[in-house]
Assembly symmetry: C2
Homo-oligomer: 395 residues x 2
């Protein structure tokens, strides 16, 4: 824990900028998603790239051992050391990273990897030939399926998919565990109906891929899909076995804009202090710049008025119409303008004249990016600082 | 040092993504700025918010003890522990942070702070009344001057400036050391001529402020201005005593776009690995997302074709026409398009078909933001990994 935060937890006077996490909202968000997924008879494999902390992970997972998803091998290491054994590393695997994956598996992690081409299967298999021993069980692979042209993945209906599965069948070091997709396009969806459609599209793509693999004689036990908007706003077709979602424990302005949550559900915020005013237009200058908020603009096409984040009083009450309109490295500029659609009330005509030293909270555009700026979270219990939770960082 | 990087330095096989720093380019950039500032008879007070490492700071400073500028009190702590005593904390001071400033000064740091309103002087003075002892010398203050309406600062010609100085004269805990300004607007300047004009404007604002203070009987020994573009592209009028600049040791695509440097001067890059291809358009998928590159878009209005960074081979040779067009948390998408103006050669019509596992380097839009994503730098000496230098983080 940073020394400055440790001493401030004792005297209840937090330094700024710092990252706040409201425990009540966090638990409510986790409970909502768990119940929603359970009602559909699905297994939840939360994506721990958002929380990056073992205590917070426990609120998301079905058991202390997982299942869970990670985005870096540093996360896999960290969460395995904290007892989480059922892990999927959901970023395309390359031979250079195999030594770390094997080291974790030899210690007892059931760590699976993701591939999306016969070429990659071939490369990994060749690399494993010199790395693995007779004691190593085959490395489980999920074939990534492209459901929306957004990023990686095999077309569910094309000839590349059975070719990659065939390559896996011939491999001694690898085995097919299932198929996986991610509707990254859901974040560009302008409204909730579109997210619901995308969940169907996501589910159908991965179910079709699984059916084709099974028809070709492959076991395909895992059929994995998901993102926070599609999980919460959609319903998956039969055949999907598990869903992945990451940002839901914290929520953010992007999720509020998509209709996944309200502003009152956002558990994460950045505490900041007013340093002064800009004379040219009366804007407030605060000590949260892009190092504290991230430079993530959120979905600017849909919600340009969120800037780098919306503004609350220190107690979390929204100040409608205010937003962080600019960021420098350690400065944020708070100005006043048209309200974002997620805000219910109209804003003031000018920035309120808050004195130097006033504390404010900034709601994040993208909780994953804002949290990534910080060493950890000050956990607020009943509104008061109760603990500091560190984040796993790096790769 | 992260364990993964430590072992990779031994076997010369770096993990990806990781941050590379070319020592030859770094030293050349530092030498260029030092010579340029010395020729003008000015003192250089480098802004260490970019390098955030004590060894790198030594390449920037006139002596091992400074002078230097910092953007957080964590930097002030860190650099003071590394022997740098002459420090200016160039973000507006608030009473809540006084205890840390006093602690450093009592250990021997000549740490000055920045204020921009009589109200702030009054607040700080009141807070100091209960914090300082008779052994504490007055805390030196630089009054911030607004030269371009960009952020904070007092108008050099207005009545607020002498009022703040008067408030300082009456204070027992504070004393006036000088005036300081920063032409933040230089980063919006579309070309080099405009940066030269801004350097004049920046210099005239702060020289005028100093003259008015001296005419009112205040000593004003320090007259501080600067930013990398204005320092390198402009000349300051007589009366400016010191200049501050931050990004010049590394340079970046924003500086190249402004005409401050060429692409061959950029010392910082992110090493990444090709994970696969996007079927829909042939783009490359790499393992450097916004966690490794930052979400900083640079000056998108002027140079939209830089995306999240330009692309080089592993050896640093530019691949013209390629750019990181999209970033997710751990994925970057490299696509092909019109070349950025800083690139001399035309690009290819389609993304080259690079095999999975190929290593590339990404040149950053904004070196400060990209470096802030990483725990430290892999220093390249004669192109080979030679050392790992950690960065000071947090506040």
């Amino acid at each position: 824990m940073p020394t400055v935060i440790a001493s401030s937890l004792r005297d209840k006077r937090l330094p700024t900028p710092c990252l706040l996490l409201d425990e009540t909202r966090l638990l409510a968000n986790c409970a909502r998603v768990s119940a929603h997924v359970r009602r559909q008879g699905l297994c939840l494999r939360p994506h721990l790239k958002t929380v990056k902390n073992a205590e917070l992970a426990r609120h998301c997972m079905a058991s202390p051992h997982g299942p869970a998803t990670v985005s870096t091998l540093a996360e896999a290491d960290y969460f395995f050391r904290h007892g989480i054994t059922d892990l999927c590393y959901a970023v395309g695997m390359v031979p250079q990273k195999l030594d770390r994956v094997l080291a974790l598996r030899r210690q007892g992690a059931d760590l699976s990897v993701v591939l999306d081409a016969a070429e990659s299967v071939h490369l990994l298999d060749a690399a494993l030939a010199s790395l693995r021993t007779n004691d190593d069980s085959p490395l489980p692979v999920l074939l990534e399926i492209d459901c929306d042209g957004h990023r990686s993945g095999l077309a569910p209906e094309g000839s590349e998919l059975p070719a990659a599965a065939e390559q896996l069948r011939r491999s001694t070091g690898l085995c097919l565990r299932g198929v996986l997709t991610h509707a990254g396009g859901a974040y560009d969806a302008p409204h909730t109906d579109r997210c619901a459609t995308l969940a169907q599209q996501e589910g159908h793509a991965v179910v079709l891929a699984a059916r084709r693999l099974r028809e070709a004689g492959h076991a395909c036990p895992v059929v994995s899909a998901g993102s926070t908007p599609t999980v919460l706003l959609g319903r998956y077709p039969a055949g999907v076995t598990e869903v992945r979602a990451g940002v839901y424990p914290f929520m953010d302005l992007t999720m509020a804009g998509l209709g996944v949550c309200t502003l009152d559900d956002i558990a994460l915020s950045v505490l900041t202090t007013v340093l002064g005013r800009r004379r040219s237009d009366g804007s407030l200058v605060v000590d949260a710049g892009w190092t504290a908020l991230s430079a993530d603009r959120g979905l600017t096409r849909q919600w340009p008025f969120q800037g780098y984040g919306l503004v609350c009083r220190e107690d979390g009450t929204l100040l409608p119409g205010l937003r962080v309109s600019e960021t420098n490295q350690e400065h944020g500029i708070i100005s006043c303008g048209p309200v974002a659609p997620a805000q219910a009330m109209p804003g003031p005509a000018a920035c309120p004249d808050l004195p130097v030293g006033t504390r404010l909270r900034i709601l994040p555009n993208h909780a994953c990016a804002t949290a990534a700026c910080h060493a950890g979270y000050v956990l607020l219990r009943d509104g008061r600082p109760a603990d500091f939770l560190t984040r796993c960082r790096g790769w």
